[in-house]
Amino acid sequence: MSKLIEQPRYSCALGVQQSVIAIHRAVPVVHAGPGCSTKIHGFLGQGEGYAGGSTIPCTNSSEAEIVFGGENKLRGVIHGAFKVIDADLFVVLTGCTSDIVGDDVGQVTREFQAAGKPVVYAETGGFKSNNYVSHDLIIKAIVEQYVDKFAADKTSVIPGLVNVFASVPYQDPYWIGNLQELKRILTGIGLTVSVLFGPESGGVEEWLSIPRAEFNIVVSAWPGLKSAQLLEAKYGTPFYHFPYLPVGGIETGRFLREVADFSSVDRAAAKAFIAEEERKFYTHIERTADFMLEFRYGLPRVFYTMLDASYAVGLAKYLLNELGILPAQTQYVVDNTPEEYRAAIVERFRTISSRRSANVEFVEDGGAIQEAIRLDKPAQRALILGSGWERDLAAELGADLLPVSVPITYRLILNCGYAGYNGGLRLIEDIYDRVLGTYR
């Protein structure tokens, strides 16, 4: 089958520039053609943040660099970036042009590293992978080329300190809100939490304490796993893996209990926190159960996910087990999940609840998924958890659309997130807000 993509839902390897700008006071330096960086920014994320968007230093490679090589130009731009941009860490990222012509970006970067500058590099030529894959690549680059060099102490473990690898910033439109909630609940059970990205993180400074964590937490189907494995191999830090986004009472409780068991925190205090969170969460569910049972004019009864693996499983479990919306027979995972992780995701959908299964297909071509859903013609009112591309499909099927995947466009997101207890509640509000908004 052809690997073409109609309606893309992720970016190329260079898309990881968005992960870099998500680190407070870190700046990407892009060695690529003009336009790459701007297209990525236009697709992933709303707002340029501290030093993204039009601020991103770039060589804007032209014909001369293709023919004669772009190392000198890169040298000039890195040099200028240090003088012009007020930042703590510079991350040199390559694009198609420099990777195809074979510029030795490592050598250029090492010259600056040798002079003691906080700069790292990673090869992220667009054709090499996508931004889910390269997210682990830049974490590796920062750990090996920056943290190892500048961290004062890499051996003495700080009890209770954890690094969390969850959302891929900007690729997950709700990354800030999700990290905020994960930090809140993990802090609640007694941990000291580094989320490394976004306003809930201490920025570049926080990265320097990565080696001293008691353990690491990966909340994701697969992105972030390689980073945790790297840190285990490097510093001997064990890690706990929760393979999807925990949303709502059941899964968040499971997540926190397992984390607490994995850690050195006071179990009784952790248990008390979880119990209190569950009490508050279920107060809302109980309070509005009559609405969900009695609203007689129509609520969505079947859902389709067209999301990355972490979201697809997390939301599917929550919708079915806590809101009573049933999965359509086939669910779609759009993140080009590497082969090695697919079986586990299939199994999670097969056992989505104790009595229900769904099939999962891995398709990156949004156009093909839409054709399949059109053919499926759901008989009941449907909820589509997809992207802005699904607007017409939803209208055609009379379905309710909640955009969870990029491109999001029809919605402005600040700190909204769907992880955890608060995220679960927020998800209910957002879904039924859209549903009730269809009545006049």
Binding site: C12, T55, C58
Partner: protein
């Protein structure tokens, strides 16, 4: 400047064709005299920030042809602009009362193995599938840095697929690295249309081509009065409509930066006269443009009447606005011709334009007619502009200049620029619809929006109080063109 040549698959980029530049610092009059002398030098920057590329600008025109499909032969990241243009397309559909239709855009998803073994087969397969799914009347294939460097023979694939599918499958060469001037992408798009879509005229019509983006309809009223009909191209055109643009009575450009190549191509290849006058911004510009339109369409008497009526309606109100705006200082950042037009417009309103950061400079347009030089017209009519800087969207220079100039108002035409003004507490206005300021009425429209913006200081004042600047103190103290140097020689045209 070279003549339009439809035998070559690629149109030469603006640097080579027009001698266009992206780096200059001085005054507007200085730039005009350099341009006219024919020895313009480009400045290169040793430090630069990300820009746009040709493929985005090519896509921006071709992707909104209503019954065509796009195939972007590139890694998936290059398709990062698909949804943005789809959104623009949909907004335009709303404004024009068209039914909502999604853009049909396909990416070939070039991966590592394809860079080794070539991506031609993948491209063929994608074109076939795009044809099956979208049932388009034409397919445009845009190239990328990756497909260009690995040397995929895209032209032979599209020729083959044209024969196989029985619809035009057209290559649009727009590799990002080929040009520093992203508007070269417009030329690529138009070259592919004129080369493979437009048919020789069978008869002359009363239609007037209007090369534009996706703005509001300001021309139908005017042209209908003259017995002509507005035909907006290229966004929202059909393939069939584009086939016949060779039959039009004339071509109007809303912005010569956009339409320089298409206007000239239609005139050179099919004899469709192009209106070669400064664009209709400001009174003098609008007068001159209207008269040129009247001359070309053979409606000189009618045009004089329209000018008289419209001016009589606008002038008293304009005086009121001038009284309120005189002395206001302003800094502009915009693309080339539209930036020149805005300078004229602001001067007409009595605003003191303290400088401009204009993204590139074409010393001449493809029609070769000095009468079309908007900057020359602006300088001659309204005087020189200090701090005139040609800067291909370099935000660090802009932040530095604004910090020095500290105007009362900043006007931007492109995204990613406005917040540099706002972060400094300067009220900043972005207007996306360039038709908004067109003609006599446009002066009033703009004046009203400027007054609103100047009056609305609360947001920027508070933002300035709480925002951070990613630029170093050192940089803010340097002359703004510290990294501009080189004086790369540009071939005289």
């Amino acid at each position: 400047m070279s003549k339009v040549n439809l035998n070559t698959p690629e149109v030469p980029v603006r640097e080579l064709r027009l001698g266009s530049i992206t780096g200059f610092s001085g005054t507007a009059a200085g730039l005009v005299s350099c341009s006219n002398a024919g020895g313009l030098k480009d400045g290169s920057r040793s430090f630069s920030q990300c820009m746009g590329c040709s493929s985005g600008n090519a896509f921006c025109q071709l992707s909104m042809i209503t019954d065509a499909a796009m195939v972007n032969h590139a890694p998936v990241g290059c398709a990062g602009d698909f949804f943005g243009y789809n959104f623009v397309y949909r907004v335009g559909q709303m404004e024009r009362d068209l039914p909502p239709v999604i853009g049909r855009y396909f990416n070939t998803n070039i991966e590592e193995m394809d860079t080794v073994f070539g991506g031609a087969r993948k491209l063929e397969a994608t074109i076939r599938l795009a044809f099956e799914r979208a049932k388009p009347k034409a397919i445009f294939v845009t190239t990328s840095c990756a497909s260009g460097i690995i040397g995929d023979d895209v032209e032979s694939v599209t020729n083959k697929m044209t024969r196989e599918l029985g619809i035009p499958v057209v290559t649009c060469f727009c590799e990002g690295f080929k040009s520093k001037i992203w508007t070269s992408g417009f030329d690529s798009a138009y070259h592919s249309i004129v080369r493979k879509i437009v048919k020789p005229p069978e008869k002359k019509t009363n239609k007037v081509n209007i090369i534009n983006f996706w703005g509001s309809d300001v021309f139908s009223g005017l042209l209908n009065k003259l017995g002509y009909e507005a035909d907006y191209i290229v966004p929202f055109s059909t393939v069939a409509q584009l086939e016949r643009i060779s039959e039009a009575a004339a071509t109007i450009q809303i912005c010569p930066t956009l339409g320089t190549y298409l206007g000239a191509a239609l005139e050179q290849v099919y004899g469709v006269p192009e209106i070669k006058a400064p664009v209709a911004y400001g009174l003098a510009g609008t007068d001159a443009w209207m008269r040129e339109l009247g001359r070309v369409l053979d409606r000189e008497q009618e045009i004089e009447e329209i000018i008289a009526v419209e001016k009589a309606a606008v002038l008293p109100k304009l005086e009121e606005y001038r009284a309120r705006l005189t002395g206001t200082t302003c800094y502009i950042t915009a693309g080339s011709a539209h930036g020149h037009a805005l300078i004229a417009l602001l001067r007409e309103l009595g605003i003191d334009v303290q400088g401009a950061a204009i993204f590139h400079h074409d010393p001449v347009y493809d029609n070769g007619d000095p009468a079309a030089d908007m900057l020359d017209h602006t300088v001659k009519t309204y005087g020189d502009v200090p701090n005139y800087n040609v800067c291909n969207k370099q935000a660090y220079e802009l932040a530095n200049i604004l910090n020095r100039v500290r105007p009362d108002l900043m006007i931007a035409r492109h995204g990613g620029m406005t917040h540099w003004g706002a972060k400094l507490g300067i009220p900043t206005l972005l207007i996306g619809d360039e038709h908004f300021s067109w003609g006599y009425q446009g002066l009033l429209n703009y004046a009203e929006r400027i007054l609103e913006t100047l009056d609305n200081k609360e947001f920027v004042t508070n933002l300035a109080k709480h925002s951070t600047m990613p630029y170093t103190k050192w940089w803010m103290e340097q002359p703004p063109y510290t990294f501009l140097g080189g004086n790369v020689h540009v071939q005289a045209y």
